[in-house]
Symmetry: C2
Subunit: 195 residues, 2 copies
DNA sequence: TTCGTCATGTAATGGGTTACATGATTAC
DNA sequence: GTAATCATGTAACCCATTACATGACGAA
């Protein structure tokens, strides 16, 4: 699966797993993780929160900011179920994990992913990029004569970008293989052993 | 402006300005230009064609492939209006021109854009990327301690990608300045018989 | 004969953005 | 006092993908 919605859901769970937040703050935190530009709108955020609550993955904490504020400032916190769901997702190397958006989201929470799964995802992503590279190169070869300078330049730039990602992935994979002892590289809490 | 739809419309006009095509072939041509992966679906393509026709920018040519095919193979060609609209779009350096998708589409038809406009778009895009770069760097500085290795790595990769685009743009701008005489770098060299 | 590609289209569905509606708090 | 930011939510709209329906043609 890994539809847009799921990604947003899991990213939200991931952020909330570091501590309770209210919607507005969650949005900022997500924006910081996924990149300062490309913020998501409240039109997706609040429905997402409702969805997560309906699943029983988060719960309202009430106004923790004191009684001074009349306007509700609804703070949400992960439930036990929510935590489980997030951990399960973070450690499940589904084939959708190498999709552009999916991969970025997973990477953002990689410190909560087991080392073996991290490696598999990194390698899967590398294959994906290599396939894409092959397609791009073939397409360029086929249409070289038909294309003008700018189109060619654009496509070359694209190829270089993909190559750059592959070598970046290589360095990450290398680093991952050199530290295979730690299950979780950054064990903030969570000392599960689970396989 | 420059919604998704408009971009698709103009890209289609651009492709059709090189000669009449039927829907299926147009889709392939678009895919080749915008990248071999990320094809658009028929669910957007055919409505787009209907839209363009409603505007009077394209017209049906009937089955030019001979009477052998029973199944209609609807060939579309640019009208005079369509040509005008495309040229106008290609030479209009609106502020939306530096958006990610918009910029890519414009670049794909840069040979039909006047040199002065090309330069302005290139420089506008560079500013955009520099702003973005500044935001990313600031965000990284702000959250450095809070972020784990992977998040940091991801954001550094993002920054490097943006830097790469800036230097790529610099080289394009430089090239553009060195050949300021030609209005159109690639004048309608088009080998087609057009109509 | 069956599979892959060519070829055109429609309807349902999903889901994100935009605009709207409301109001508190802080800084100048 | 007023502008900016904080803060929550809903509803309409846009539009792209997906699935479906149909059918020809060439090759294995």
């Amino acid at each position: 699966m890994a539809a847009r919605t799921d990604l947003l859901d899991f990213a939200s769970l991931g952020v909330l797993s570091e501590g309770p937040l209210h919607g507005y703050a969650l949005r900022k935190a997500l924006a910081e993780i996924l990149g300062p530009f490309r913020a998501l709108s409240y039109g997706s955020l609040y429905p997402c929160l409702r969805r997560l609550q309906a699943h029983g993955w988060i719960e309202q904490l009430g106004a923790v900011d004191g009684p001074t504020t009349k306007r509700a400032r609804v703070v949400y916190a992960l439930t036990g179920d929510g935590k489980d769901v997030f951990v399960e997702w973070a450690n499940q190397p589904g084939s959708d994990a190498w999709d552009d958006e999916s991969f970025a989201t997973r990477l953002a929470f990689f410190s909560r992913t087991e080392a073996s799964v991290r490696l598999r995802i990194l390698e899967g992503r590398r294959s994906r990029m290599e396939e894409r590279l092959a397609l791009m190169r073939e397409s360029m070869k086929r249409g070289r004569d038909r294309m003008d300078t700018f189109l060619l330049q654009m496509q070359e730039h694209g190829v270089e970008g993909a190559e750059r990602e592959v070598s970046w992935l290589n360095s990450l994979i290398l680093a991952e293989r050199n530290v295979p002892k730690t299950e979780l590289s950054n064990p903030p809490q969570v000392k599960r052993s689970r396989k």
